[in-house]
């Protein structure tokens, strides 16, 4: 599970957008995973299993925040600090633009895009993580891609 922490943090960053919230979400995810380790089935991917826990934790968290009147971090509050070490990409501008475009996606599309295009899960694994049929997954993915493409062209950072 230790090895998964960086990727869990990245996924949390996509979901929560705010870095501090993201680490809280990762913490919650790890705690829940430890408490439910009996439910992890040998031979299945631990990462998809934990992404599913994270996504459910995020839903719970969002609901409880809404109840308590806490305002969710607006998209602008996310950190779009480009990664200076990212190799062979279209430069820092494009990378920060893609993170901004990602943050602006509706949550359903954002997480579908993150699971498949960032984390490299298969359609089936991503659909299972989200408890949705594969057709729903591919349609969210398609809408997400189209929106990302449009946003990036708008920003002049051609993908």
């Amino acid at each position: 599970m230790l090895d998964l922490l960086p990727r869990l943090r990245r996924m949390a960053r996509v979901l929560a957008r705010d870095p501090a919230d993201a680490d809280d979400l990762t913490q919650l995810t790890v705690e829940r995973a430890l408490a439910r380790r009996d439910q992890w089935r040998e031979g299945t991917r631990q990462d998809s299993w934990m992404f599913r826990i994270m996504r459910n934790a995020w839903i719970d968290e969002s609901r409880s925040r809404a109840r308590h009147g806490r305002v969710l971090a607006p998209p602008e509050a996310g950190v779009h600090a480009a990664d200076p070490a990212a190799p062979s990409l279209d430069g820092r501008l494009a990378l920060s633009a893609v993170e901004a475009a990602l943050d602006a996606l509706p949550e359903d599309q954002r997480i579908a895009v993150a699971l498949v295009l960032i984390e490299g899960l298969s359609y089936q694994e991503a659909a299972d993580s989200l408890d949705i049929p594969m057709g729903t997954l591919t349609s969210r993915l398609a809408r997400g891609r189209t929106a990302l493409q449009a946003a990036l062209i708008d920003q002049g950072a051609r993908p």
Partner: protein
């Protein structure tokens, strides 16, 4: 041929049947527009794969790491952390050391065999249990080491103090009773939703490790015998037990002598 956007996406994601993949690859060479659409999606994928990549290189916050290595145990039936007796540290260290060992090699397999992934996961879970941090708010203490070992209270405390193994209908059942390598009396227990091991120190029972009891799932999928002690707990017991568990007579004697 006409290739839909969805097919372009699936092509780039490698999610089409091999024959369709081959057909689109062939079509691309004759259709620059299709080739451009595919290239655009490849670029997007590549760009996305670098999104938030910075966080992968950042050091993981120590608190988060500690949760995994030291583990975290949301409190359920058992609570009420108290400052712990010093000796428990040794027990914990032993239990932890034991827990961190890779799974024992299966007989007949070479010992250098790499432990499977689940073994690593199980090991870190057991280590986590041995530390037994509670999710319930701990009373702040001066030394900051708030209450790592919860004290048994209520029915659990009564069962541990006075109950015989396999006795009765109470909410808590006692499993085995044994002496720890540090000379403490310890007992495994099984509650409605928690099972664990507790040791007696300074007149109180401290829960060293616990895990969700394997409750019968609705579909029966995870069904196990209700009296079964979770393997994670057994691993902790194995790491601290001195000799063999008490038999019924030994247990009765210990009960009668009030755990002297």
């Amino acid at each position: 041929m006409t290739v839909s956007d969805e097919e372009v996406f699936a092509y780039v994601d490698g999610e089409l049947p091999p024959e369709t993949m081959a057909r689109i690859t062939a079509a691309m060479t004759k259709d620059p527009a299709l080739a451009a659409r595919i290239q655009a999606q490849r670029d997007l994928r590549r760009l996305l794969s670098g999104a938030h990549a910075g966080v992968l290189r950042e050091p993981v916050p120590p608190g988060l790491k500690a949760t995994v290595t030291a583990g975290s145990k949301p409190a359920e039936v058992i609570a009420f952390p108290q400052p712990k007796p010093k000796e428990k540290l040794k027990d914990k260290a032993k239990a932890k050391a034991k827990a961190q060992k890779p799974a024992a090699p299966v007989a007949g397999r070479p010992t250098f065999r790499k432990p499977p992934a689940w073994a690593a996961m199980a090991a870190c879970l057991v280590a986590g249990l041995a530390i037994g941090r509670l999710a319930l708010p701990s009373p702040p203490t001066a030394d900051g080491r708030a209450a790592e070992l919860p004290m048994a209270v209520g029915p659990l405390a009564r069962a541990l103090e006075d109950g015989a193994a396999a006795q009765g209908q109470g909410p808590v059942r006692i499993g085995v009773t044994f002496k720890s390598q540090t000379g403490r009396w310890c007992r495994t227990f099984q509650g409605q939703d928690q099972a664990g091991v507790a040791c007696r120190a300074d007149g109180a029972w401290r829960v060293l490790a616990s895990a969700p009891a394997t409750a019968p799932a609705a579909g029966g999928e995870y069904r196990q015998a209700a009296s079964e002690t979770p393997t994670a707990v057994m691993a902790v017991v194995d790491g601290m037990i001195s000799g063999a568990p008490l038999d019924a007579a030994g247990e009765a004697q210990a009960l009668k002598s009030n755990w002297r």
